[in-house]
Amino acid sequence: MGCGRVGARLALLLVQGGHEVTVLDIKSSAFSRLGPDFKGTTMLGNGIDQEVVRRAGIERADAFVAATQGDNRNIMASQIAQHVFGVKRVVTRIYDPLRSDTFAALGLHALSPTIIGANAFFEELTGDAAPPLAV
């Protein structure tokens, strides 16, 4: 769900790895990021709409990734995937580190690009592994 730079690249990587992939986005223009030879399926629609994800085949999906720009959209879609459709592997992009903590505690597998990015820069600059941030 979400065919931005991250979503599109992930879809291409997965297809390259031999996986079956359906990419959802609310803008058809976003699919141009997949290139003309994309071997997966693209579908126009909102991933927080249960009918849309059902049509996308979520009931037989092994994994669901929410990678739109909106933390809340990602959180809601992921909880629908997890609790309504029982998808085994659900990974959610949550930019806001605090929200990421909260929903990790609620059982979501959250990835925060904010934390990952800042830590990568820290390590590049200092040569040390980034410690947890004392708040």
């Binding site: 709409d49 609790h83 309504v84 605090l98």
Partner: protein, 219 residues
């Protein structure tokens, strides 16, 4: 009562005004500066400028002592997250969310939101009630169950009209609870003969609703 209202649009604004009139303590969280300023001019010092879906904003708003957190922004996903953060992170007593897409009601309930208000669904109910005899009108669903309370207006063509209740073959897990006749309600028994014009309030499990409908309506 201390109520935090997330979203200072029309719903949030008027809700706050009424609650303040009733003497409650209210704080509106609104992220658009102009709108926050407007609300402050109209209602006084009851606005916090910020995003209610951010934990730091809810902390500043005093979510841990709020009796109720009401999320009335225009986006279902924002309202869901605001209520979940308020409940899980701050232990807010009660969360109420506005929903736009009626299909989202189930997931909100599943994720522990205490109550939802859905204008789309209300409009639909009003429309159904204004088309007489047309259908089984869903009145409410008992919380956390699939038991529905439905209402039907019987006509001369209804299959059950003219029958005593004991002779009516109801679908399984269904019961006729109340009959409203000529404006007064009573609890029917086996001898009650159903008449055209009776409003019948029944309880049924969701899956049996179609059978109940075909019992009340000739076609």
């Amino acid at each position: 009562m201390y109520a935090i209202i997330a979203g200072g649009g029309k719903v949030g604004f008027f809700l706050a005004r009424e609650l303040i009139d009733q003497g409650h303590e209210v704080l509106i969280v609104e992220n658009i500066g102009d709108r926050a300023e407007f609300i402050a001019n109209e209602l006084g010092n009851v606005v916090l400028r910020g995003n209610a879906d951010e934990a730091s904003t809810l902390a500043e708003a005093g979510a841990e002592r709020a009796d109720v957190v009401i999320a009335v922004t225009g986006d279902d996903e924002d309202n869901l997250v605001i209520c979940q953060v308020a409940k899980k992170r701050f232990g807010s007593q009660r969360t109420i969310a506005r929903i736009n897409d009626p299909r989202n009601e189930g997931i909100f309930r599943m994720l522990g939101i205490d109550a939802t208000v859905n204008a789309t669904q209300m409009m639909l109910s009003v429309l159904e009630q204004e088309i007489p005899h047309a259908n089984l009108v869903p009145l409410l669903r008992l919380r956390n169950t699939d038991i529905e309370v439905v209402e039907a207006m019987l006509t001369a063509r209804s299959r059950v009209t003219g029958s005593a209740l004991r002779d009516v073959e109801l679908p399984p897990e269904s019961t006729i609870a109340v009959v409203i006749r000529d404006g007064s309600a009573f609890f029917p028994n086996g001898n009650t003969v159903l008449e055209a014009g009776d409003e019948v309030v029944a309880l049924t499990r969701g899956v049996h609703e179609p059978r109940l409908r075909s019992l009340f309506f000739a076609d």
